[in-house]
Amino acid sequence: MKRALGLMVTVASLVAVASVVGAATAAPAKKQDTSLSGAGSSFVFPLISKWIPALGSAYGYNVSYSPIGSGGGIAAITAKTVDFGATDAPLTKDQFAACKGCVEVPWALSATAMMYNLPGVNCVLRLNGKQLADIYLGNLTKWNDPRIADNNGKCNLPDTKITAVYRSDNSGTTYNFTEYLAAVSPTWKSKLGVGVNAQWPAGLGARGSSGVAGVITKTPGAIGYADVAYALKNKIRFASVLNASGRYATPGLRGINAAAATLPARITSEDGALSIVNPPKGNPLAYPISTFTYVVVSSGSSKAAELRKMVYWAVTQGQKFGPALLFQPLPKQVQAFAYKQIKRI
């Protein structure tokens, strides 16, 4: 199975890499003797595209990256067809077992936006966790239901059917969203759980963020999720979400930063995974559906030294490229944690 997966991923990567390599070689580079290939998350791709030329001029690394999705990235690093994989969902136990000697390092921080299409509604929709869970459980089906209308007093929500849209393919964004739903809804936690996909009881599935966005823009009354950079770039409106402090927060840089600030000063995590969904009280700005995204590197790689350097650069200097793309630079304690993980590579 691994071999078949590897082959599939290689073919997919070859196609995508061709274009990225083309762009990368155009960058001014001193000596391009080390080439590092990566694949995975499309969420983090805009940031990596900025890193590629910068890494080229800093170290002379020729980095290529194919945004084939988090799942594909995990499969590729497991099969060792790439030097690093990128994923928004932390590796599961089974995936760690299959991916021999893999180390997971958080290297970017952003959020998942709840996009919606409500023509004629001009105020920003406000939603809380219970409402989101009920919508995706199929218990809330009309926008003018008093259970939603109550906290959207001025909005005058229409009598439209709610169409909940989810990702049909395995996705790190789905992981972030279900992790949040499980944190705010015991029903969700016990019936559907947390994962890169779920047994969605209501709504309809679409492939990729672009598929979700496609359905939302074509369907009045639709709601769905994607990374906030995607929602902004495609000019799709998104909701503010109630946090534990009782405030409605937006997935802007401040909201993401406030969510990450709730992490303890000394971070311990055995596998490298960190969770900041639904952060506790005390951070009124915190956006509750924020997430880290990870790079997965094999410690047995022959390019371990270069990879260590690359990831270190990414979690330090690389972070300054983030804000323009709605990636909040990593907080100090996460950086410190990342160094510890990097040492294991």
Partner: protein, 323 residues
């Protein structure tokens, strides 16, 4: 061969050595090609089953009639997907078969040549549209049209039927079946056209000479003559419909329930494998997806074998009736 004596009147001598070598080479290549393809089929089936084996052992045959697919609590069952595969494919077939026969008859019997040729090309070009492009069109144009126009219309006329009940949806079993219809029409209509163009002229001329109308000639002569081929064409289309994954994934909405209505989202075997295999979070999920692949493989093999059986039976019947 070796006993042939050279004939002075024969044309220039032929290099028999070369011919023999060519013969041997040709035989060898043909043999390897034929056996190779058969071996690939065998190996592939073996591999799929052996990779799915842990899931087959874990869930047994009850996997087939279990409803539910929750990778987060390791509940796996194929029923929703088997249902979706069979329903979408049969609706597609139900719509595509009469349409394909009509297109083929129009092109061979009714339309004048200069109209028929461009239309035939257009229909065949439909087969050249990559399924992923068709799927995109399904998401952006066709799905919304189905939800806003076709499904409300069906509901207003046939709403008393449970299959047309409930809220219209732009992704679901019905749009998927319609996209499949579009995908199999070029295949079945091209084969049907070929079949109708091979109906011996004297048979239909004879029928017309005996006083039958055009329609009677078609119904009594052309269709029975082409029937075995048509049924094979239909089953080929069915095979295509069963296996199509990408276009279906884009329009079926990846639902997890079986509904009596055709409007809500569902899922097919191929579509679920395509959307969930990459990035499966546990080993048992990947194995269960391969179990789905094994089921799809078996369904497809059964369809193709029965296609051949039907063609054989028809041919035997025809041989007996013609003498």
């Amino acid at each position: 061969m070796s006993t042939v004596t050279p004939d002075p009147l024969a044309p220039a001598p032929i290099d028999r050595q070369g011919i023999r070598l060519g013969d041997v080479l040709f035989k060898g290549i043909a043999f390897v090609a034929a056996v190779g393809v058969a071996a690939v089929l065998g190996l592939l089936t073996y591999e799929v089953f052996s990779l799915a084996w842990p899931a087959i052992q874990e869930f047994g045959l009850s996997f087939i009639w279990t409803q539910g697919w929750n990778p987060n609590s390791n509940v796996y069952g194929a029923l929703v997907f088997i249902y979706g595969t069979i329903v979408t494919s049969f609706i597609a077939l139900l719509l595509a078969t009469p349409l394909s026969i009509a297109i083929a008859l129009f092109l061979t019997e009714i339309a004048p040549g200069r109209v028929a040729a461009p239309i035939a090309t257009m229909v065949e070009l439909l087969a050249a549209i990559p399924s992923v492009v068709l799927g995109l069109w399904g998401i952006l144009v066709f799905g919304p049209w189905v939800a806003n126009h076709l499904e409300p219309w069906l509901q207003s006329w046939f709403g008393f039927l449970p299959i047309f009940s409930g809220d219209p949806s732009q992704a679901g079993i019905l749009p998927a079946a319609l996209v499949l219809t579009i995908m199999i029409i070029p295949i079945t209509s091209a084969i049907c056209r070929e079949l109708f163009s091979r109906v011996p002229r004297d048979l239909s001329d004879g029928s017309l000479a005996l006083g039958s109308t055009r329609w009677e000639a078609i119904r009594r002569v052309a269709i029975p003559y082409a029937a075995p081929g048509i049924s094979a064409a239909v089953l080929l289309g069915l095979g295509r419909a069963f296996g199509e994954a990408i276009a279906v994934t884009q329009v079926i909405g990846s639902g997890n329930t079986i509904n009596e209505s055709l409007f809500p989202p569902g899922d097919t075997l191929g579509s679920r494998i395509a959307s969930s295999y990459i990035g499966a979070s546990t080993a048992i999920e990947a194995q269960s997806l391969l179990y789905l692949a094994a089921i799809l493989l078996v369904i497809s093999l059964i369809t193709n074998v029965s296609a051949q059986a039907i063609v054989n039976r028809f041919q035997k019947a025809r041989r007996m009736s013609t003498g």
